[in-house]
Symmetry: C2
Subunit: 79 residues, 2 copies
């Protein structure tokens, strides 16, 4: 019986979506971190699922990526 047939967990979704939208924006992890007022390595930590981002920090990421917060937790489409 496999337990993990549902969607990826929230950290994985956040990581994939931050990466996707950051690529669309065409900026580095360090640049996005600077834009959001984070430590230089924080976006890297989020994209590697190391950071357990708080609601307020997800809001900041959504703001600089210009997407609604909910979109950062959606299952990424294949585009």
């Amino acid at each position: 019986m496999k337990k993990q047939e549902k969607v990826p967990d929230a950290r994985a979704l956040l990581a994939a979506n931050v990466l996707k939208h950051r690529m669309q924006l065409g900026v580095s992890q360090e640049k996005l971190a600077e834009m959001a007022g984070f430590h230089r390595t924080y976006v890297s930590q989020v994209e590697r699922r190391v950071a357990n981002a708080t609601t307020d920090n997800v809001q900041k990421l959504a703001d600089v990526l210009s997407v609604p917060v909910a979109q950062l937790f959606e299952v990424p489409s294949e585009d």
Copy 2:
């Protein structure tokens, strides 16, 4: 110039959606906290926007409320 014409911030969205889905489930704040493995007062703190919930804790809330994580950050419908 009003700055806040966009959607409510992430804490407010999370608070409203946790409340909405908790009501649909028909459980108290304390009961939901127990179900998710939180301190007795944590759901109350989330619903009052006091807690700055982490991604992992939002995942736990989504799990016990049986909704995708993204749904906890969507603008609540009027139903």
